[in-house]
Amino acid sequence: MNAWVRKEIKDSIRWLPIGLVLLVALIWYQIATQSPNFFAVRSESLFTLTWFVSAIFATFLGLANYLPETWGSARGFLVQRGLSLHRIFVIRALVNLAVYLIAMLAPLGALAVFFAVIGPNSAPVNPIQVVPSVITVLFSFSFYFGAIAVACRPCRWYGSRLFPLLASLAISFAAVSILSLHNQPGASAIGFLLGILGMLLLVAASRSIFLRGPSQPAPSRTPNISIYEKFMMIAAVLVAILLVTAFSASMTNSYSVAYHSVQFTNKGLPWLVESRTVVKNGYGQQLSEVKFPISESNEDVDSKPDVAELVPGLSFSYPWYFSENYWDMLYVGSCTSSDGHPLNVMGFRGLLYVYQQDALQRSRLIAVVGKETVGDAGVQQVPFEQIPRLLTFTYNYPPVLTGLASSYKQPNGTRIPLGAGSFTIVATDGIYHVDLDKSKISRLLDKSVLAYSYLNTARGASDSSNLAIWDGSSISVFRCEGQALNGPFQISERITTLTLPTDFGVKLKSGDVQFDYRDPDNWTIAISYYERSYVKSKVEVARSIQKEIRHYTTSIPQSLSTANIEAMKREIFIPSCLVPPVLLGAIGTATYLLGNPMHDGFGYLGFIVAQAIFSGILAILAARWRGLSARQVASWCAGGILIGLGTWFLVLSIYPRVFYKKCPACNRNRRIEREKCESCGAEWKPIAPLGIELFEESNQGAEAIGQTVPGQTVPATLAVT
């Protein structure tokens, strides 16, 4: 067996440079294009790149290992030895796993070392960014086993031969779980478990296909399709249905969508605005805007305004809404230092890393901001609960994005003297001011902050800005002096505190919040959120007019939503024909039970039933076409009812073709490989003798089948054909 291991190592090791070079080249390209500051190097992009390369390389290894043995006499030479095929399969899998891991992990290891050397002092990178890529490398080995199934399944290339790779794709998708590890460890664990289970099933399926033999042309007497192979094909067909449905839906010629927002009159009266957009071939085009008052019952307060007077309110910002992950530094914002150099602020695990950029866009870490101190990298810091956010106006875009940085280039390549400025940050427990010159952090406001917003100062006479902070139960408005970025900034006084009448706090986290504020006696807060199901949204409004707080709730009018859904239903009819009836039924039932059915009852039900019946009939036809037993036909019929139209293809791709001949006894079709006729039970007749047979009596073969033996006189002539 050792010799066989050596043989497999020699066979596979020659492919190692292909994977190695491909991954190194793509990583090199990725890094080179992000040099010198590496702000855009993210674990997600490395993950995608590695996923692509590892899937291709694993597939290549599987095909290179097994495909040549489906040609000529190679299979016979492989089989005819005192070594079981199972052992050969195991040896090959282990050897190729080793080759694959070397090819894929060596470049990732080198990248991790590179990150460790340059980060975080010169760039916002760290070695653990490659961990998701390592995970995807492990799961992408499923493509090796998918490729074995592709090589060994005796199917047509334009038929279902490539389908096992879809099962591999589904398994490798489990690696995506790693990217959400920080937020949802439970979901990640389930994803991993499913991926590992799928991998084991795929290994068993490819093994059984390999052992069965790659070149068993039909008809096959004992198809011997393993349960694992069936699972693999079911998974593959479901993935195919998913892809085709998603692609069809994305290519649906046109469908309309409606977006809702709240706008305000000069007197603070909220109006609902629906923007209708038609999407054609993936591109949206706005059609119209419909505006109407939130509640007709507020006419006692305000008269109906001129529609043209409506203005948008302000939105709250959510510090925790960063797409933070466990692996990457997160871009928080940009500002400038006291001497005008661009500063990029990155967040990582509750700390802020401030990078100063020189004229050549090279970065240097100048400070790490913790909750209590401003220090250097490597100094122990107390992190914030969440990554803080720069307090900034929405229109204050970072200078690096506007190209401003290039204007700092100094003549003769002289380096700009590095300076440091200050900025204000919003954390979950208050507002902080960071003075980089003095390496000092001070708390401006000690208050819980769930959301905040700068108020529009353009309406007021003062140059000062107002800051609204939502703490979960009330909104406090503060007057601020100075600039939040690059200057002395102070929160001077609390203007007012608005205590809301309802449990807005809960809804605030899930909805869009708009805030219109003029003075303590005249403000409006509108929250639009989804109630109970994702298709039915509500708008809730709290208003204070002359210190009297009123509260309104309204649903988005059904007429608008219904028209929209009807349009979409018509457009997605064709792709939804492929969706398994059981899934359609589950969605319909769930939305019905939640009180917001996305369907019109009997029509939807009729569609599901019709699809299920049609699929069941097709499954029966396919199963009978493949000569399955009555029990198997019934099982696949049930499968057709549940899984839908894909079952037809599934049956045809799993089971080999069967062939029939006329039974000489009953003249009905009978299976070639069966000893007895399924209709009349007759056995095959012995073939007619040619009359020239010559058998020595000691050789017993002829008598058994009634062929001519010496002594018999069978008149025979040459068959002239």
């Binding site: 062939f659 020239i692 050789n699 073969g701």
Partner: protein, 302 residues
Amino acid sequence: MSKLAIEAKNLTRYFGTKPVVQQVNFTIPVGSVVGLLGLNGAGKSTIIKMLMGMLEPTRGSCSLLGVESTSLGPNERSRIGYTIEGHFLYSGMTVRAAETLQADCFPKWDSLLFQTTLQRFGISPHERIRNLSRGQRAGISIALTLSSQPELLILDDPSLGLDPVSRRALNETILSFMEPGDRTVLLSSHMLDDIERVTDRVMIMTEGRIVVDSSLPHFVSRLSVWTCECSEPLDRVQIARLVSRRQVGRNASFVIVDADEMTQQELHRLGGNTVRQEESTFDEGVMAYMSRNRSAASLMSI
């Protein structure tokens, strides 16, 4: 009753709806050396593949050394030697590496026999297989097969494409392998003199069925060759147990199995006093069976 090395019962194989092997029955006792003959497409390789478990029978069954062919495991396979048509080998290996690989998989490996066989074919163990000639590859293939000291040897057209020297070396190797007398060989070939020299029993296949299964002397003794001058077109001639006929101008010849009185009368009706019986040879008999349909078809065009 002697033990059976090979047994085929009602062995049938279809490709699609086309029958390639039809209801074939035969047994080969331990110690026999059997030649399997037939035209291309007659079904010889298909039978061998079914025997070796590479191809599943459509109907019927076959077994080697008492084990169903579809259930042959590593233990049984290590007792069987099989050279594949075309002598497939891992061409990237050296001869030495190929030997090491093979020796690792067969417990009764005879390294001395391997070296001897290599010398017979003039092959250096350090050469890479892809650099060898077809004859040398055949030699390695045979050496790899025989050195595992199989109880049963199945050779599928081993001399295909070999020059006379390589063929002679091949035959010598096979003959020396059979010397102990307890080894069973099934040799499929187109080389009639090889078969005549090596085997003691012959099976001839045509149209997917075995039409001859006999020892060589018995086979020759039951055939007779008749010649006559005949002006009548032979496609209208009806002679019982006529294997083949040929006609060149007025000279016609017939190969007949178990010719009897009625057959001779019919021949005399055709050729009168010109009818003569000649001694048949092994080659002539085999050629008559193998070219049976071809000669009939050619007559149509005369």
